[in-house]
């Protein structure tokens, strides 16, 4: 039978593999839900590892494009890996679908007709958080973030919308710094109303622990983006880090979102893998359905690039986040929610939606993108 070949580049080695594993699980679940087929075509899925290194990621991408001759390349957790690999895919005339990374150039001047995102642009989530802070009457803020591009995007994002005063900012060494005692002491001394942080992956775990050990919970409430998620929460629970309970995060998706696709995804993911899916998983799951919608729209004619592009552009598929649309830069225009860390009925730590912060929010870089 004819087949559609999809390459999925994610992180399968190093500590970053937690994220990659979540994506891989979700992609496999998606294929299962599709019954192994997109339209009449069999799905031939190839996973590749980026090792959190741009060069490795690019090499893996090159192999998918040149050797395996895939039709779609999806995945990419890390901005720098995506930026390094982007040209290989697009120059070869294939579709590139980011299931996580959303660095600003890709939304702006480096946007491309064959690029689509099923996640977000880096600035959006923290912008939502800035709005939340305004709404909650937070007047002064202390900010901590790793000193790298995505970290700076996050800080820029929250500063875009937050109207109060920023009392201090710490960009910590990245990668490698996991001891935040000095910064926490500074934050405490600043006397700000709230603490905004962005610490993805294991830095998040380390941060939350130290936040708790320093006894800051009662002094300075915590507002985070991409720090507390479905991957870290079970670990926090095992480590008894009560400090994270009730903390606020913003996101475009939540396991409790009420739509059929999401319900099936969350329920089956939990049954199959034993814990709540994280947003990494949700986006990866979506990326497969986006591809499926394209393949089906052209009746399996994978040479019909224009047809597939038009189909994807319409975002006409069941997304776990509900309906959304694409901007000119092929970044989602979508809702952002405020979520809170809670215990579910079985006592497992998860999040629930408190309210909608933004409706149909578009990233600020779309105007730099020459596409229409």
């Amino acid at each position: 039978a004819k087949e559609v070949k999809v390459g999925f580049v994610t992180t399968l080695t190093t500590g970053g593999a937690v994220l990659g594993k979540a994506q891989k699980n979700a992609v496999n679940l998606a294929i299962e839900h599709m019954g192994g087929k997109m339209g009449d075509l069999d799905i031939n899925l190839i996973f590749a590892d980026d090792g959190v290194k741009p060069e490795t990621g690019k090499q893996a991408t090159d192999k998918l494009v040149k050797q395996d001759n895939v039709d779609f390349v999806a995945g990419y957790i890390w901005s720098h890996v995506l930026l390094a690999s982007r040209k290989s895919v697009l120059d070869a005339g294939k579709f590139l679908i980011s299931a996580n990374a959303g660095p600003s150039p890709i939304a702006g001047k480096l946007c491309h007709e064959n690029f689509f995102s099923t996640s977000w642009q880096n600035d959006q989530t923290p912008m939502a958080m800035g709005e939340v802070l305004n709404q909650q009457g937070v007047k002064s803020l202390y900010i901590m973030s790793p000193n790298y591009a995505a970290g700076k995007n996050m800080v820029a994002g929250v500063e875009r919308t937050f109207k109060g005063k920023v009392l201090g900012k710490d960009f910590t060494k990245w990668p490698g710094q996991l001891d935040f005692s000095a910064e926490l002491a500074k934050a405490k001394a600043s006397g700000a109303d709230g603490l905004f942080v962005f610490y993805p992956g294991k830095a998040g775990g380390a941060f939350i622990k130290q936040y708790q050990q320093a006894g800051m919970k009662d002094v300075m409430p915590l507002y985070t983006v991409f720090t507390v998620d479905g991957i870290s929460l079970p670990k926090f629970q095992a480590g008894n880090l009560e400090g994270v309970m009730g903390s606020r995060v913003t996101q475009h998706w939540d396991p409790t979102l009420d739509n059929a696709q999401n319900k099936r995804f969350v329920a089956d993911y939990k049954t199959k893998y034993g814990n709540y899916p994280a947003f990494y998983a949700a986006q990866a799951y979506d990326s497969m359905f986006l591809i499926k919608s394209a393949v089906e729209a052209v009746g399996g004619d994978l040479t019909n690039m224009d047809g597939m592009r038009t189909a994807m552009k319409s975002a006409n598929y069941e997304s776990v986040r509900g309906k959304y649309t694409y901007g000119n830069n092929h970044m989602p225009i979508q809702n952002f929610y405020l979520r809170e860390v809670v215990k579910d009925s079985e006592g497992a730590w998860t999040t629930k939606i408190v309210k909608t912060v933004f409706e149909n929010h578009q990233d600020p870089y779309a105007k730099d993108c020459p596409l229409k």
Binding site: P54, E55, D62, K63, Q67, H80, L83, A84, K87, A149
Partner: protein
Amino acid sequence: MNRKQTVTLAVMVALAVMPPLFVWTGNAFYLDLATRLVILAIAAVSLNLLLGYGGMASFGHAAFIGIGAYAVGIPAYHNTYGEFELIASYNGFFQVFLAVAITALFALITGVICLRTKGVYFIMITMAFAQMVFYLFVSLDVYGGDDGLVIDTRSEFPLINLDNPLHLYFLSFASLTAVMLIVRTITRSQFGKVLQGAMGNEERMIALGYNTFAYKLTAYVISGAMCGYAGALLGNFTTFISPEMMGWTRSGELMFMVILGGAGSTIGPIVGSGLFVLVEELFSSYTIYWHLPFGIMLILVVLLFRGGLLGLISGNSKSGGH
């Protein structure tokens, strides 16, 4: 012809004929792999001049590669997006000149300080400078910070077109051959002998009347500049540069390539980088736990063959370094 020379010839011939075959048989990816291999081999060969013949185990050579690559990327970036007219250019000769000149200068300045130290202290101080460069580029937001810099347009040369993978490959291959010959000539020359003498017993060389510092510094600058050149090629190959390329792990890998192949021999570093690149590719396509067999392989090579793989081939167990 002894075994070592046979191996050298075989390796070089294979590198000359295999890649075009890849293209004709529709295995373009393997041409990429070969290009990567050859470019890394240039860096390894240049490191070997220091490490294998001068006893200077530089743990910061990735910085030279990185600087070389940025010397291609930054002029190209400004030529595309404006500002900094002075260096804005796609001209390959200009970019390569920049790469070589800046790395040579960087080597000269840091070398004066680094070469005051020896052995492991040298390893660490070279790494320190490389880390400084690393963090410098991480925080240079203009050039993408840690997200890196995309090179939209490759270096432009008359007659050759680097967008053509074969052209790029053969430029790299010719460069590798040239660099090999340079290193080979240098190491057999009087200069090279003094360098090797200084590696073996510096006190004695000074007592004989050699200003060993000057010789070591010269070698350091030559090696750094050649590595910068490799960086310029690498930038053209990946069309993307990020500080990640100059992290200490990359410097470590370069060092391993040299030791794995056999420090202090002409072909050793090439064998080493070849093995590194190919085994990595081969193992990683089978399992995500490929680091395990890879690590075991490294351990076995060290335990079983003195002086790297070449020690096995040439049957002697002369080992370089201190």
